[in-house]
């Protein structure tokens, strides 16, 4: 499903980019020897890919993020190593971008490095989030973030969910919603994301099953 050498996940704040990036990294690791995940989220202070560094490294996925104590900072740091993994053809690379305009600016700074490479850019949508709860708002944000990040978006991803309370109807609503967005801006839909524990068989789009990484401290692990 994610078959380019470099996969970029962007979207609005809290749309599910990190959850999807982590899962895509796991899936690619089953097929390829060298997989790296670049956390270029410069705006979130909690719930980031870098919080799972030991889990990822145990299964041999390289996590590219600010090192040492700097990983706890909400500072606009993109380590130079990202450029290395973009040009290293032996690596499958996933880029987890921060949300909103500020996150997209960070992605834009990689334009020169990414141009000409085998890259696909995915825009993650959850219509239950406040800033993308209407077709009009979603279209506006996608167009604007595409400009800010200086990237053409190749596919939309339906990540309609209400966390632990997600129902099949929520997912179906997401499929209808994202289809409509897709029609308006002429960008195809790649997949519908379904979290483990939910039994949803493919209807409109292929299903990408994910295991939930991001947990609150009271979830029993």
């Amino acid at each position: 499903m994610f078959d380019s050498r470099i996969s970029v996940f962007m979207g609005m704040f809290g749309s599910g980019k990190t959850e999807i990036s982590l899962n895509v990294a796991l899936e690619l690791k089953e097929k390829f020897e060298h997989v790296a995940l670049a956390d270029i989220d410069v705006i979130s202070s909690y719930f980031r890919s870098r919080d799972y560094i030991s889990e990822l490294e145990r299964i041999g996925i390289r996590l590219i993020a600010p090192h040492g104590a700097l990983m706890h900072a909400d500072l606009p740091i993109i380590t130079a190593a990202v450029y290395g993994y973009i040009s290293n053809e032996t690596y499958s690379l996933i880029i987890d971008v921060g949300g909103n305009d500020d996150g997209a600016v960070a992605l834009g700074s990689l334009k020169v490095a990414l141009d000409g490479k085998d890259v696909r850019t995915y825009f993650v949508l959850n219509p239950y989030r406040p800033f993308t709860d209407t077709i009009e708002k979603a279209v506006e944000h996608i167009s604007r973030l595409s400009k800010v990040s200086r990237r053409k978006i190749d596919y939309l991803i339906n990540n309609a969910n209400l966390g632990n309370e997600t129902t099949l109807e929520n997912i179906r609503y997401g499929e209808r919603f994202v289809s409509e967005v897709s029609k308006r801006i002429n960008i195809p839909v790649l997949a519908t994301v379904v979290a483990d524990g939910i039994c949803f068989n493919a209807e409109k789009f292929p299903v990408f099953k994910i295991k939930k990484f991001l947990k609150t401290p009271w979830d029993i692990r």
Binding site: G14, S44, S45, R129, P130, G163, W218
Partner: protein, 355 residues
């Protein structure tokens, strides 16, 4: 879509304020609550409200003072160091008896600290913080939905008692996403009428005076006695708390905010192992549920208070228990969040000691 939405705590508290009829926000961004400031900057213009980013938290709190003097619903939000900067203004606002809402999304301290979740601003919120004999009403939500509900309540209590109200959250609550249902928009025409005291133009009537100042000590004491009378009324009417499985419990856990969510998991884990434990969760930190906790603790073998601090609320727990039993404490601080497993280990030590 009138149904549930998936919202971050910070965004949820902003939307809840808008729906409560708040159209004025003054504040300055600080992690881990900046999404709230950002949310209001987008949202208030949509409802013909005013968002203003101040040059600092000192400026913000004085803007709140001015706006609250007109009897209009007004709020700010910040995180620990920013809330420290606001203390002088909050003391003035409490003295001038002005309704206003503050949200502190607490992070690790003291000083600059860090940006991870903490509960080490409990003393500051409940025991003063600024100078003088005053109290804030302090509400501590433990879920995003409860944060929405308590922000609404905060505006109502602020208006009812003409008193600043603090919603004491923590970084975890501000940053995490949960499904919530928002209440309907409050009709602005139904908001309480403050024309008897507020600064709303004095043409044709005696001017109103809003101040926390009186140079005559007898008069200032009188003003203070008035505040105290109001505080006793709040203590009598506004205590809120929740319990979980306390009836048959031999042991009692006490915690507030997101810490209480972790303790909820501990209760389940412990009961699976045959330890009968219950949870007491204060929702109002001031007024603190002293009597209610005292009776909940009756007949229990031991009581463990857990906080994301080195022990602040535990002092109120000990006041409630009043020496009748030993009160144990476990805490992590500096932005470290205790895991259910480590709290269970602490609980087991107490169980072993008590059997």
């Amino acid at each position: 879509m009138a149904e549930k939405v998936m919202v971050k705590g910070n965004e949820a508290m902003g939307e809840a304020a808008v729906r409560a009829g708040c159209r004025l926000y003054f504040g300055y961004p600080i992690t881990p609550q900046s999404e709230l400031t950002e949310y209001m900057s987008r949202r208030l213009p949509e409802v013909e409200g005013t968002f203003l980013q101040s040059e600092s938290e000192v400026a913000a709190v004085n803007m709140i003072y001015g706006a609250a003097s007109t009897g209009t619903r007004v709020m700010t939000s910040t995180s620990s160091p920013g809330f420290s900067l606001m203390q002088e203004g909050i003391s003035y606002i409490a003295g001038a008896e002005l309704p206003s809402v503050f949200i502190n999304v607490v992070r690790g301290g003291p000083g600059l600290g860090d940006i991870q979740p903490a509960q080490s601003d409990y003393f500051q919120g409940t025991k003063g913080g600024g100078h003088g004999d005053y109290h804030l009403i302090v509400l501590a939500p433990s879920s995003v939905q409860e944060a929405v509900d308590l922000v609404q309540l905060a505006f109502d209590l602020a208006d009812k008692y003409r008193n600043p109200v603090l919603v004491l959250a923590d970084g975890m609550l501000g940053q995490m996403m949960e499904p919530v249902e928002f209440p309907e928009f409050r009709d602005l025409n139904t908001l309480p009428d403050h024309s008897s005291w507020a600064m709303q133009g004095c043409e044709g009537r005696e001017p109103h005076k809003i101040t926390s100042f009186d140079i005559d000590p007898i008069n200032l004491e009188k003003m203070n006695l008035g505040y105290q009378k109001k505080y006793r009324e709040i203590e009598a009417n506004e205590v809120r708390y929740e319990t979980e499985m306390i009836e048959d419990a031999e042991y009692l856990l006490v915690g507030y905010g997101t810490m209480a969510r972790i303790l909820g998991t501990v209760v389940k884990m412990a009961r699976n192992e045959g330890i009968k434990v219950g949870l007491f969760r204060p929702i109002t930190l001031w007024p603190f549920p002293y009597k209610e906790l005292e009776s909940a603790a009756e007949g229990k073998k031991a009581l463990l208070t857990v906080e994301m601090s080195m022990g602040q609320m535990v002092e109120d727990v000990r006041l409630a228990i009043n020496g009748k039993m030993h009160v144990d404490f476990y805490g992590r601080t500096g932005g470290v969040v205790p895991t259910p497993e480590e709290v269970l280990r602490e609980l087991k030590k107490i169980v072993e000691r008590s059997e």
